[in-house]
């Protein structure tokens, strides 16, 4: 280290020269080039001159002859015991504060030397800022969120501290046994280091003591906390809430929490926090923990969990495949749930014979591509009787060709658990249906007598004759479905997208003339219109909407900007506002 002395002399000459040039009024950049010193160095040197004259400009020789300024052995123990206890002053320990103490004890030492001792006593800590900068994972966080934090801090004239909790082993001394100590520390990006390792009864007390003292050190703090989550107890949060001078953020790698500012407000402190409101908007924009699952990921995982539970319990499972967007998503999820195996069940399509042509084409294509068995069931008796939506009306048509046919299909094959794509947001009575819905021998649903469903534990026990309808998409909304289709590129029937189609206006709805079985009323002529469908069913019963949406994203856009619910296009729910509930009780899916 002493080799630096000649360099130091040369350096000091350059520093003095730089100050002279600045005093002559030379520009900073010019001086920098002339004396080969960086601008900050020149500014510092200039400031030092103004403060303390030429003497102050010189840098002190780096390093020192060994032993020169070290603390005598006998004082060292006193000093270290101080460093492990609370300082008398109401601030945390810093190198300079401890150096002052050493001086009082009669040891001529510097803050720098103290720093080395602190390191030796294992009271140091990693520079969190530096390690964040060298971590690839945190690049995004540093460029976005951290930048915002620093900007806010600058505006508020608040000092940024990186802080954490760590432990050290205290070596055995004459008076004490070897022990493990917890200590809290904080450092600035410029390397100022503070710590507190006193005996506290509990973590919360320790936490509050430390940050309280830190506030005496700097009046406004922005803390980036890389500590233990358990330290964030109601007591500490409460305390933080009461100290709005502290902006408290979590380091993204603590995992426990997004780097949202912690303002979990306690009841005791329900009011007079102006701070939170003005910042609420900013806060909400702050960083999400990269490890937090998105809502679609959580929904996906839940659906897969349900499917696996049901299949584990089923003797003969099946999936009702209605060809709609929900069915498409459900099938996609089933493939994920059992990968690399194929879903261990067949697809069942209850065919009324009145679906859109495009749906039949799509169905056969999917069956071929997935390699799953496709069971198509029709209520032959009903069809033979000539039941159709035109002469019998939607209610009887649905009842015989859909509900009855479904029951027939399930009875014929003896499926004990059948998956359906119903969602709770579709309709009010569905909002109360369980994920596993039990049907008696007549397939009837009893809304008043449903099994409670707790946690993610599903009771799959059935009595003889009972069967289960399982709804893995219960918690999805229409928007979730479309977002997921967009994200995962799931194929859906093209009828969901706008195209020129032949339609007639009936009872206020655009009905597509999909084949020549549809009788025209007097004065009706099909016209070509750019339309699409929000839900798919039997073509004579499904109203189209005029639309320009030709892609998934267009569809989402249209949906978000429109104000009608998806089932509105379906005639079946319209009879009375409780009609779906009645149909479900009768065995409709």
């Amino acid at each position: 280290m002493n080799t630096g002395s000649t360099d130091t002399i040369a350096l000091n000459e350059r520093r003095r020269l730089a100050v002279k040039l600045r005093l002559e009024g030379r520009k900073l950049k010019e001086v920098s080039e002339l004396v080969d010193l960086s601008s900050p160095t020149i500014i510092t040197a200039h400031k030092q001159f103004l403060k303390g004259g030429w003497e102050a400009v010189d840098v002190k020789p780096r390093g020192r002859p060994s032993g020169e300024r070290s603390v005598p052995e006998d004082l060292l123990e006193t000093l270290s015991s101080k460093a492990f206890a609370r300082p008398e002053q109401n601030v945390p320990w810093s190198f300079s504060l401890l150096a002052d103490q050493a001086k009082k004890l009669g040891a001529d030492t510097s803050a720098r030397t103290i720093g080395k001792y602190v390191e030796q006593w294992n009271l140091g800590a990693d520079n969190l800022y530096k390690s964040a900068k060298s971590s690839d994972e945190l690049t995004d966080w540093l460029t976005n969120d951290y930048k915002k934090i620093t900007e806010t801090a600058r505006k508020q004239d608040s000092t940024i501290f990186w802080a954490g909790l760590t432990t050290c082993t205290l070596a055995k001394t004459k008076t004490t046994d070897k022990q493990i100590k917890k200590y809290l520390y904080a450092h600035t990006t410029k390397g100022q280091y503070l710590w507190l390792a006193a005996d506290h009864n509990n973590d919360a007390e320790h936490f509050i003591d430390f940050f309280g003292r830190l506030l005496n050190h700097k009046p406004k703090l922005t803390v980036i906390w890389h500590g233990h989550d358990p330290m964030l107890t109601p007591a500490t949060k409460d305390w933080l809430n009461n100290h709005v001078q502290i902006n408290f953020y979590q380091h993204p790698q603590t995992i426990m929490n997004a780097t949202q500012k912690i303002r979990t407000k306690s009841t005791a402190y329900a009011t007079n926090d102006q701070h939170i409101d003005t910042q609420a908007a900013d806060e909400r924009q702050t960083i999400k923990n990269p490890m937090t699952l998105t809502h679609l990921q959580r929904l996906e995982a839940e659906s897969i969990h349900i499917m696996r539970e049901a299949v584990a319990a089923a003797v003969k499972p099946a999936m009702l495949y209605s060809l709609g967007k929900d069915s498409s998503v459900m099938l996609h999820l089933a493939q994920k749930a059992f990968y690399p195996a194929k879903p261990p069940f067949p697809l069942v399509h209850v065919d009324t014979g009145w679906k859109f042509q495009a749906m039949y084409e799509f169905r056969d294509k999917v069956a071929k591509e997935t390699g799953l068995q496709l069971i198509v069931h029709k209520n032959i008796a009903g069809i033979d009787k000539g039941v159709n939506p035109f002469t019998h009306g939607s209610s009887i048509h649905t009842d015989i060709l859909k509900t009855e046919a479904l029951k027939q299909a399930l009875d014929k094959h003896g499926f004990d658990i059948t998956f359906g794509g119903a969602r709770r947001d579709e309709e009010k009575s569905r909002a109360k249906e369980r994920i596993l819905s039990f049907r008696n021998e007549q397939h009837r649903w009893d809304p008043k007598n449903q099994r409670p469903e707790l946690w993610n534990l599903y009771n799959t026990s059935t009595s003889p004759g009972e069967s289960i309808r399982a709804f893995p998409l219960s918690n999805w909304t229409e928007l979730d479905i479309w977002q997921y289709i967009n994200q995962e590129n799931i194929p859906v029937v093209p009828l969901y997208f706008a195209a020129e189609r032949p339609v007639v206006l009936r009872d206020g709805a655009w009905i597509m003339v999909d084949d020549d079985r549809m009788p025209m009323n007097k004065g009706e002529t099909p016209i070509m219109k750019q339309v699409r469908f929000r839900t798919l069913g039997c073509y004579p019963l499904t109203g189209a909407v005029e639309s320009e949406a030709t892609t998934v994203q267009d569809v989402i856009k249209e949906m978000l900007l429109s104000n009608n619910s998806e089932r509105q296009g379906r005639m079946i729910d319209h009879d009375s506002s409780a009609s779906m509930e009645k149909k479900k009780q009768e065995g409709y899916f």
């Binding site: 989550d229 303002r263 008043k448 449903q450 994203q553 989402i556």
Partner: protein
């Protein structure tokens, strides 16, 4: 919202990419009929634009029919789902509602407030990460507020929001609000409820004050609005990340001989390929080979993901096991202290067997002891012999085998369970595993050299139980007596356990209530099992009226060791015989809980033997039984 709409219009792709990163919070709302809960939810849905025009229109039509809000729209009608509820004006079940903001997707479990619906609230709370507890500002903290708060804390909900509603009816007075908050704090602190954080917000759901926007009516309130609070709360999935890794195995995936994957949802923690794992309860270890998903293998999986793992070593793992990291594995035990919420009309009976589902494991459970019941209104502990519907009790439970688990407070996913009735298949209870009882780790079966097989062989017979069941006076004891005499004559080793005799000794502390009948049969079952173990042919003659108890006795023995003998006699015939005069006493009301009169007899569904005493003599019946025993190779 205007800016969001602009974004949707102009750049849907950007909007979607922003919304793909949204997270999700599940919450529960609790309050009584009159606290304005449905109005609050209706408002939240409406203001976050989750309601559509036709739904509003529907509500308007309904509003005219049932509305209670005069001319203005009754939001409650939007959310009260079932027809019956609309008509009665009360919410009777849990309903789930969904809405989105720019920050989050929310799932609300809307729970009714009446005491009889404790089970519904527990249901909603089990998956909730936060609870909104409504109080009416005019009424302040009510008994049910305490109940809701207690239940939320019991179910491990970390965040509680005290929504002081109807501030408009108390002139938006700050004092009123502060008093309520103070009282609430006193309660949560004095009862030491485990709530991590609670926040109070003064609201008027009807006018929308402090719901999504401040409004001008309460300038003294500076805290956040309800919605902004909900948007910034920590979600449980994040919290689960820092806990030890747990994967309850749902399904063993074997599409071909080369692949053996263990599918499940990561309950907590994270896992990387190469990590050492321990499988509980077997304790076997291996390390992670691959983390398989359809979208490609992962290097790391985190809490909340549904994945499939393959391991380096071929070890035996089945559904119900839990895969943990080796450093911090799940525990395994078969006796627990637990808190049980009873959910069925039929009360919980100690000694009766139920199916217990915890994680993905299913076992048979017996509640060995109800330590006390908890009064959910006063939080007092009271002595109890049974738990009725909606009651909560601390109970010891005993499982038929070891299961892997964590304490509920450490892990909601691996420390919770449901109880299923073995006969009706209904979900009858739900509970939390509080801790394993130490004795379960210390009691081991003593292995002996001379076993049942050897003992039976020496006696030249196959030991078994003939379990006679039937009404009082049906002739159980008479027939059993003759059968034993016949067996003895052949030199067989037998023992007859008779109802009345046992009640004079072993079971003299038991009465005739349902609970005591269960315990009576449990003890007899255990004694019979020991006797079978000693190589005897055991005959028992007890009314044993409940199917579940006979099932319990059957479950103690091997499959072919238990033979149910149904002594069938019509009630009228038995009553006519009335050898001990008991029917007469029961009819006159001197004898309570008498089977067939005021206590039910559940007929066996598939007895091994059925003897009809109304058309056959006791001797004939005994002969029939001996014949069957020969056919079955018992003698």
């Amino acid at each position: 919202m205007a800016t969001t709409k602009e974004l949707i219009k102009n750049d849907i792709a950007k909007y979607l990419s922003q919304h793909e990163t949204k997270d999700m919070l599940q919450l529960i709302t609790c309050g009584s009929v009159d606290d304005g809960k449905s109005t609050l939810i209706g408002r939240l849905l409406h203001e976050s634009q989750a309601l559509t025009e036709d739904q509003l229109e529907n509500a308007e039509t309904d509003s005219i029919k049932h509305g209670t809000q005069g001319d203005s729209l009754d939001f409650a009608l939007l959310v009260d789902g079932l027809a019956a509820e609309r008509e009665q004006g009360i919410t009777i079940d849990v309903a789930y509602r969904y809405f989105n903001t720019d920050q989050r997707k929310f799932i609300i479990a809307d729970c009714p407030g009446h005491e009889q619906y404790t089970r519904n609230m527990i249901t909603g709370a089990s998956t909730a990460e936060a609870a909104i507890i409504l109080v009416d500002a005019r009424k302040g903290i009510q008994t049910q507020t305490r109940r809701h708060t207690y239940l939320a804390s019991l179910m491990g909900i970390r965040n509680v929001v005290l929504a002081v509603n109807k501030m408009d009816l108390v002139s938006y007075a700050e004092d009123t609000f502060n008093k309520i908050v103070e009282e609430f704090n006193e309660f949560t602190q004095s009862e030491q409820l485990e709530i991590e954080s609670s926040t109070a917000i003064p609201l008027s759901a009807l006018n929308g004050d402090n719901l999504t926007a401040r409004g001008t009516n309460m300038p003294w309130y500076h805290g956040s609005t309800l919605l902004s609070l909900l948007e910034t709360m920590k979600v449980d999935q994040e919290i689960a990340l820092n806990k030890p890794f747990r994967l309850p195995v749902q399904w063993v995936n074997r599409p071909n001989l080369d692949f053996r994957g263990f599918a499940g949802t990561v309950a907590s923690g994270t896992i990387k390929t190469g990590d050492q794992v321990r499988v509980q309860p077997s304790g076997k270890t291996s390390s992670i080979e691959r983390i398989v998903t359809k979208d490609g293998d992962l290097d790391r999986a985190i809490a909340g993901q549904a994945i499939t793992l393959t391991l380096k070593d071929e070890i035996d793992i089945s559904r119900g096991d839990i895969i943990s990291t080796t450093e911090t594995p799940a525990s395994s035990a078969n006796q627990f202290e637990s808190t049980i919420v009873w959910m069925n009309e039929e009360p919980l009976l100690p000694g009766r067997q139920y199916l217990l589902k915890c994680g993905t494991s299913t076992s048979t459970a017996t509640i060995t002891d109800i330590k006390h019941e908890i009064n959910v209104d006063t939080l007092e502990q009271i002595a109890a012999k049974t738990l009725e519907i909606n009651n909560i009790g601390n109970c010891n439970i005993n499982l038929d085998r070891q299961i892997a688990f964590d304490n509920y407070e450490d892990n909601r996913a691996t420390g919770s369970f449901i109880l299923v009735d073995r006969v009706t298949n209904e979900t009858v209870g739900a509970g939390t595993l509080n801790f394993a009882l130490r004795r379960s780790q210390n009691i081991h079966m003593q292995a002996v050299d001379v076993d049942k097989g050897l003992r039976s062989e020496l006696k030249e017979q196959k030991s078994c139980v003939l379990w006679f069941t039937g009404l009082s006076g049906s002739g159980k004891s008479t027939i059993a007596n003759i059968v034993e005499a016949k067996l003895a004559k052949e030199g067989r080793h037998t023992y007859l356990l008779d109802g009345d005799n046992v009640r004079h000794g072993l079971n003299k502390d038991l009465g005739f209530t349902d609970e005591d009948r269960v315990e009576n049969i449990r003890r007899i079952g255990e004694v019979a099992r020991l006797m079978v173990d000693s190589g005897l042919i055991v005959l028992t003659a007890f009314i044993s009226p409940f199917r579940a108890e006979r099932q319990m006795a059957r479950a103690l023995l091997e499959e072919d060791e238990f033979m149910e003998v149904y002594v069938e006699t019509p009630l009228a015939v038995a009553e006519q015989r009335d050898p001990k005069g008991l029917y007469k006493k029961a009819r006159s009301g001197d004898l309570k809980n008498f089977t067939g009169i005021d206590s039910p007899y559940e007929q066996p569904e598939n007895p091994e033997m059925l003897v009809d005493t109304s058309s056959n003599s006791a001797e004939q019946c005994a002969e029939q039984i001996i014949r069957t025993l020969r056919e079955r190779g018992v003698i």
